[in-house]
């Protein structure tokens, strides 16, 4: 209501402003305004007042029967069609699993069935088209029975020969929905995927004030609006797609004129992957909400989100548990072939935990904190912060050692940063006041950075002698600085040594190796999770020999594939187990483990989270970007920003780091990067220490002066005070107000300067 009034006022205002415009015409009835979508990189001011939630579904009809109850929740089921209602007793709000009636809605039959069905199954027809089946299709039978504190539905889809149990169990403030693997029968091998309650809490247009939260990048909100700007849905595989099912047809000419290639170094042109299996919805900010955590089967789950305007007028989000993947089977060199799908079904228990949030917890901060508690309970998150410096925040310094370059007839190494140069840069940084350093040295394997993995040792002679390296890693290993070796335990270059070219690499389901090709250095593969584990173990002694007690792992922590080499198959779930034992071993053998964008299952092994996302993918339907990931991890793991070398506006980036509680990162070389022009690392365009020093120190000081007050502290609150002015509260009572705007912002008797921040202690706030 408030919005509408505001809009009306605004229009009137526009009319007045319009009269000063040269185009203004008296009595011009056409004056109106278009929709403008400003950047979705910030969080909007919450509108808390006057929200009334009025939803026809929020009433428990007479068909419903109470099946379970706890102190906070009550579960009602309509046995005719397995519709479910959950009552939040503290707010009296009713959550619904599906629409009850679709009359008057603009939905075709298929969508209407979909919206009304609490269980949806997908199968492949004979042309490998994906088809849906709902509870309203023919030959569907259900057997609904009460179980201990919940309900069980044995549902059978006769036409496709699929049947399984859906169990719903109620706990304190949450309920679990489960499809046990053992209960699934799939006579014809047609089952593709299952969605439970796809319309759980679905909201039409902008009917109520609230939003959907999706784990895109740092986290994104999609507010319920009538804008309908989106034209496509958000469908993302948790932990990224499985490369074992992807066949990229090599199209010639793609790279010739305007190909994108591997240019994503400076800009994340690829949408961000989902590393946390969590999403949620808010109905009325600070009123009601839920957060869904995929507890089991996450590696086989898609997060499917349809904003209003895409196919229907409803905003809905769900988990799709995938049992069979479609893939392309080539049979000729020219890549002729046919589409088919996985014959053996993925074997996993599908389980969702849906926590009902109320009042103050009913927003994205509440979701993040609830998810954080969940991770702590499961032991996936623990206090891993090593930083012992009592005063200053750390900065991540990544040195780029050397790169391979073809000169005339042979390859040489372009030395960019020798070990001596690295040492003198560090000395210079310390002299300049940056004492707390998190150091990563990359590209020091023999022959340089590219084309050498998975081999890690020996180290490149042109960068320094063995003893020089040993010294470097020994000296730079105290409370204030830990020098880590950069490793990638997954990429294996065809031309490199140190792995078995047949048995260590991962194969796709169509029996072809997972293979890519890179400029200058030829083809590369992915190692299987077990090969990564073995190669790591083989190298343990070398790490000790070189005094390397810190490690930074790229690619491996964020990548999850299966392999289908006959006799040595590894599923996605088994890969997770392998990686868990690999990183467990790693955290036992190293003082400090830094991981690049690890997936949820590796959070507990990371002392440092590197390249923490500060943005979302900026999908057009996203309205806000929020630091969900940062709220979850802050205080347990130190987070470092992506490399700031390529940031178009470093001041803005510093403010964002201050707001998100993330430490800065820089890539440094002693030599100017144009030397890398004809090498695989030509994408490094700005890294010379002499060039960057000044702005690096300036930005560090800026960020340090804010974040040093909240080291190791958790984020407990976040509030948008005004457009682009944000207050973040920490567990020690300190709060930081960040002002991104061009004008000063007065706050509690103080002023936050334009494009600046203000640190307030608990005392100041009163």
């Amino acid at each position: 209501m408030f919005k509408k009034i505001f809009a009306a006022l605004f229009i009137i205002y526009l009319c007045f402003v319009g009269s000063t415009s040269i185009y203004a015409q008296e009595g011009d009835s056409n004056v109106t305004s278009l929709r403008t979508l400003s950047s979705n990189n910030y969080t909007r001011v919450e509108n808390l007042s006057g929200t009334t939630i009025n939803n026809a579904n929020s009433v428990i009809g007479p068909n419903y029967q109470k099946m379970a109850e706890t102190k906070q929740l009550a579960l009602y089921v309509d046995k005719n069609n397995f519709s479910i209602k959950i009552q939040n007793k503290s707010t009296q709000y009713i959550w619904y699993s599906n629409l009850e009636s679709t009359e008057g809605e603009r939905l075709n039959t298929q969508w209407a069935d979909f919206a009304k069905s609490s269980i949806v199954v997908y199968y492949y027809d004979k042309d490998f088209n994906k088809k849906q089946m709902t509870l309203y299709d023919n030959n569907v039978t259900m057997k609904i029975e009460k179980i201990d504190n919940g309900v069980k539905n044995s549902v059978s889809f006769g036409d496709i020969g699929v049947s399984f149990d859906v169990k719903i169990t109620l706990y304190d403030d949450y309920f679990e929905a489960e499809v046990p693997s053992s209960s699934i029968t799939d006579k014809n091998g047609l089952l593709v995927s299952i969605e439970l309650f796809p319309f759980f809490g679905a909201v039409k247009d902008g009917q109520i004030n609230g939003y959907t939260f999706i784990p895109d990048g740092s986290g994104a909100l999609v507010r319920f609006t009538t804008d309908k700007i989106a034209d496509e849905a958000y469908i993302q595989r948790v932990y990224g797609s499985d490369e074992a099912f992807i066949e990229r047809l090599r199209t010639s000419g793609q790279s010739s004129t305007s190909g994108i290639g591997n240019d994503d170094l400076i800009s994340n042109i690829r949408p961000k992957k989902v590393s946390m299996p969590v999403y949620g919805m808010v109905h009325g900010v600070k009123q009601n909400g839920y957060v869904t955590m995929i507890q089991s089967g996450a590696e086989y789950a898609n997060i499917v989100f349809y904003p209003a305007g895409v196919s229907t007028d409803f905003n809905w989000i769900t988990t799709e548990f995938v049992y069979r993947e479609r893939y392309f089977q080539p049979i000729s060199k020219s890549m002729d072939g046919f589409l088919t799908y996985q014959s053996d079904k993925n074997d996993f228990d599908a389980r969702l935990k849906i926590v009902i949030l109320s009042k103050d917890d009913a927003d994205y901060v509440g979701m993040a904190r609830r998810y954080q508690r969940e991770l702590l309970d499961r032991g996936v998150l623990r206090d891993n912060i090593l930083d012992k410096d009592e005063v200053n925040i750390p900065v991540r310094v990544e040195f780029f050692g050397g790169e391979t370059k073809k000169v005339l007839f042979w390859n040489t190494v372009v030395p960019m940063t020798t070990v001596d140069e690295a040492a003198s840069i560090l000395a210079d940084l310390r002299r300049s006041g940056i004492k707390n350093l998190m150091i990563i040295y990359k590209g020091i394997t023999e022959d340089g950075f590219s084309g050498t993995f998975p081999q890690l040792f020996p180290l490149e002679k042109s960068l320094g002698s063995d003893s020089a390296f040993k010294d470097f890693f020994k000296v730079n290993n105290d409370n204030n600085s830990k020098a880590a070796l950069y490793v990638d335990l997954t990429t294996a270059y065809d031309r490199a040594k140190g792995f078995n070219h047949r048995y260590d690499i991962a194969y796709k389901i169509n029996k072809r190796p997972i293979q890519f090709s890179a400029n200058y250095v030829g083809d590369y593969f992915y190692l299987t999770s077990s090969a990564s584990l073995r190669i790591f173990n083989e190298n343990l002694k070398n790490f000790v020999d070189y005094n390397i007690s810190s490690i930074a792992v790229d690619v491996t922590p964020s990548l999850l594939t299966s392999t289908f080499l006959s006799g040595a198959k590894i599923t996605r779930s088994e890969s997770i187990e392998n990686y868990e034992s690999l990183f467990k071993r790693m955290s036992e053998s190293f003082k400090s483990v830094s991981l690049y964008q690890p997936n949820e299952y590796l959070f507990q092994y990371a002392n440092n989270y590197l390249d923490a996302p500060l943005y979302s993918s900026q999908y057009i339907f996203e309205t806000d970007t929020v630091p969900f990931l940062e709220i979850v991890l802050r205080g347990y793991v130190d987070m470092y920003s992506p490399l700031l070398n390529y940031s178009p506006d470093i001041e803005e980036e510093s403010l964002r780091m201050i707001e998100y509680g993330v430490y800065p990162s820089f890539l440094l070389t002693a030599q100017a990067p144009y030397l890398l022009i004809d090498t695989p690392s030509k994408n490094i365009i700005s890294s010379k220490y002499d060039d960057l020093k000044e702005s690096m120190i300036e930005q560090y000081k800026k960020v340090n002066n804010a974040l040093k007050y909240v080291k190791k502290q958790r984020i407990v609150s976040r509030e948008v005070l005004s457009d682009k002015v944000v207050r973040v509260g920490y567990s020690n009572g300190v709060s930081i107000i960040v002002n991104y705007t061009e004008s000063p912002f007065p706050y509690k008797g103080k002023v936050v300067n334009a494009r600046d921040y203000l640190v307030m202690t608990a005392g100041d706030e009163k």
Binding site: A7, F10, I11, L14, I22, Y23, Q25, D28, V31, T32, S33, L34, R35, T36, S38, N40, N108, W111, K130, G217, K228, A230, E232, A233, I235, T257, S258, I260, D263, I266, S267, N268, I269, Y306, I331, K333, V407, L408, F409, N510, K511, L614, S617, Q618, Y619, I620, Y646, P648, D649, E653, Y674, I677, N683, I685, S686, K688, D691, D723, K724, E742
Partner: protein, 683 residues
């Protein structure tokens, strides 16, 4: 993933669009210069050496204005920042302020399908209406001031159509109209709609076939051929100085043109203009922007040098800053870009980053010749992107102006600019020569004196007797003697080849050594030729391919010539040809190294010396080969010529056969591979 078909989806979104939209405008676009790091596209440029390199993001997506447009075709921004949209399918012009607010419509009653819009300095709105085949001029308030119909002047052409698509107006009020299929160029009208002439016609590119046809066909035959007409320009822009820019699709290197008063292109030819684009615009500093069908936005400086390319077409779910089907581009005085998308029915707003601003500021100074003043900007640019060769060149020029030639030389070397490098090198060389001229003279005199003294002693006391004897003995070794013959081959080819045939001297071992030397000389040339004269990219050189390039033709030549000689009364033996060919390369082997060394101290001013040397070497080699064939086979002059031509033809045939065999083998291999694959996967 394909979800269910949505029957009524399309219809209702259309309906939705038609409704007048009144919405919240909480956050206006005008807000500040806030930049973001993560853009859903990358940015790159093409350096002067033709290589694509990444750059910093020059523009970030600042927002999007979505409207109730339908297939909008053109966008224009006036000096006050107001936005004008040719809203084609809605048959109207939409006007709004730069925040997308204060929207007005004009021409709803008269326009049918407006595809081009332009506003002059008095606020009059010119519209190209493709639908009604007319140009409308509106007053500020939307009243029709004038309409221009198809010109009646006979000069316009009796059959020429008038289908206006785009237009611009210059300071004098002349209107330049792009008309569909107007092969004669841009239609120029005066302010009353009278036809003034055609402007900036494109040229046709005739293929070899067409040229031959034109040469040999009779006039009536030519008239029956399919008419080859130059491509008609597709879009047009005008800058502050009333310079017209045209854009033509699929027109190879003339797709972007900057036309002078005479209608001639003033941009340098041969630049890489690859966009197949939709629209062109020019900012107040003369920088040219083009948006293409792939969603890439290109920015060129006013010489037509590519500065950066950024943007991307959305391949799945749309992200802010990506495009679907761009149809127009405009830039305001603050450098903000507005890109119109006819599929999204929206305007995406891009704002320049710190990086782009530095480049722009640098360019303004640089283009005025204020190299030294621009140095600071370029240094900042390089700090952000050390691979941007234009910046290296600009800094080089600044150093050059400050007479710091060594530093300038290094910058020019990095920027791979041979001309500037040569200039800097000339200065350095000059200074060196001036400084050391005296020393050189003294050195020369000393050496000469030493020589005289040594000779004196040698004559008188025979001091160097033993050394001389040693030399003599060394040169009497058969192999050494043979190798030494290269000099006599150069000087006395006829005698030497005669000896080769009748005395079997030199022998094949020496020839083999010469072949190896030939390769080493070739490598030396590739690697050590001076920067100014070296056109080889060392990164692309491989030992194997270089040796194959050299030896395969030689082997083919020797063998084929022997066979050809055999069937045409040639007397030459295989050995003679093998050895003879090796020695025919004598000039190359002997003179290339000095020439390469010389190339390191020459500048472009003396390039003719190097070129003369290179040509002379090749010419002398050809003469030797000719002589060799004549002598070895004992042919007449014309007999030799015939033999050589037949040999070359035979080499070509062998090459073709080898190629066919290669193709066939590949097919066989692929066939077997496919069978095996099919068996593996199906069984």
């Amino acid at each position: 993933m394909d979800k269910k078909p949505t029957v009524d989806n399309v219809s209702y979104t259309m309906a939705e669009n038609r409704k007048p939209i009144i919405l919240v405008l909480l956050v206006l676009l005008a807000i500040s210069s806030i930049a973001v790091a993560d853009t859903p596209y990358s940015a790159w440029t093409i350096n002067s050496d033709g290589k694509r390199v990444l750059t910093q993001i020059p523009y970030y997506p600042a927002g999007m204005i979505t409207g109730d447009f339908a297939g909008p075709q053109d966008i224009f921004i006036d000096a006050l920042g107001n936005i004008y949209i040719a809203d084609a399918w809605n048959s109207r012009i939409v006007i709004m302020d730069k925040n997308g607010a204060n929207v007005r419509y004009i021409g709803q009653d008269v326009l049918i399908e407006p595809t081009g819009v332009f506003v002059d300095e008095f606020g009059r709105i010119y519209v190209a209406d493709y639908g009604s085949e007319q140009v409308y001029v509106f007053e500020k308030d939307g009243n029709v001031l004038k309409t221009f119909e198809r010109p009646t002047s006979p000069l316009f052409g009796r059959n020429s159509k008038f289908k206006p698509q785009k237009l611009v107006v210059d300071k004098r009020g002349n209107v330049y109209v792009i008309s569909e299929g107007s092969v004669d160029g841009v239609i120029q009208l005066n302010n009353d709609g009278e036809f003034l002439g055609y402007f900036g016609v494109n040229t046709t590119n005739l293929g070899i076939l067409q040229v031959l046809q034109r040469m040999f066909y009779t006039e009536s035959q030519i008239s029956q051929l399919f008419k080859i007409t130059p491509p008609s320009p597709d879009n047009i822009a005008i800058d502050r100085n009333s310079i017209i820019y045209t854009y033509t699709r699929n027109a190879a290197d003339q797709n972007v043109k900057k036309l002078n008063v005479a209608g001639l292109d003033t941009l340098e030819k041969g630049k890489r203009f690859f966009p197949n684009g939709a629209d062109i615009t020019v900012d107040k500093n003369g920088n040219i922007f083009v948006v293409d069908d792939m969603g890439y936005i290109y920015e060129y400086d006013n010489f037509g040098d590519l500065l950066f390319v950024f943007g991307r077409k959305a391949d799945d779910t749309l992200r802010l800053g990506q495009l679907r089907s761009p149809s127009g581009i405009a830039v305001d005085d603050e450098g903000t870009l507005y890109v119109l998308d006819k599929e999204l029915n929206s305007i995406t707003v891009f704002k320049p980053t710190v990086y782009a601003n530095q480049v722009h500021e640098g360019l303004i100074l640089y283009n005025q010749g204020l190299y030294v003043e621009s140095q600071k900007n370029w240094e900042n640019v390089l700090r952000m992107n050390s691979n941007f060769l234009l910046a290296h060149k600009a800094i080089g020029k600044a150093y050059y102006k400050q007479q710091e030639y060594d530093k300038a030389l290094e910058e020019f070397r990095i920027s791979k600019d041979k001309k500037e490098y040569s200039n800097a090198f000339w200065e350095i060389r000059q200074a060196y020569l001036m400084e050391n001229a005296g020393n050189f003279i003294i050195l020369f005199i000393v050496l000469w004196l030493i020589y005289r003294i040594l000779r004196f002693f040698d004559r008188k006391y025979n001091t160097f007797h033993t050394i001389k004897a040693g030399f003599k003995r060394f040169f009497s070794i058969r192999l050494v003697n043979d190798l030494n013959k290269v000099f006599s081959f150069i000087a006395h080819p006829i005698d030497s080849f005669y000896d080769l045939k009748w005395e079997n001297r030199p022998g094949p071992i020496a020839a083999t050594i010469l072949y190896i030397l030939l390769f080493l000389v070739q490598v030396f040339k590739i690697y050590y030729t001076g920067f100014i004269f070296n056109n080889v990219d060392l990164a692309n050189v491989s030992l194997l391919s270089e040796s194959l390039k050299l030896y395969i033709p030689i082997i083919l030549w020797v063998v084929m010539n022997y066979l050809v000689g055999n069937i045409s009364d040639g007397e030459g033996r295989l050995k003679d040809l093998y050895v003879g060919t090796a020695y025919a390369f004598s000039p190359y082997i002997v003179f290339t190294i000095p020439l390469v060394l010389l190339s390191n101290v020459l500048t472009l001013n003396e390039a003719f010396i190097y070129q003369l040397g290179s040509v002379g070497i090749i010419f002398w080699c050809v003469v030797l080969i000719y002589t060799m064939i004549m002598q070895v086979h004992d042919y007449s002059f014309f007999g030799t010529l015939k033999n050589i031509l037949v040999t070359l033809f035979a080499m070509l045939i062998v090459g073709l056969v080898a190629f066919i065999l290669y193709v066939v083998w590949n097919q066989v291999y692929a066939f077997i591979y496919d069978i095996v694959q099919e068996v593996i996967t199906r069984v």
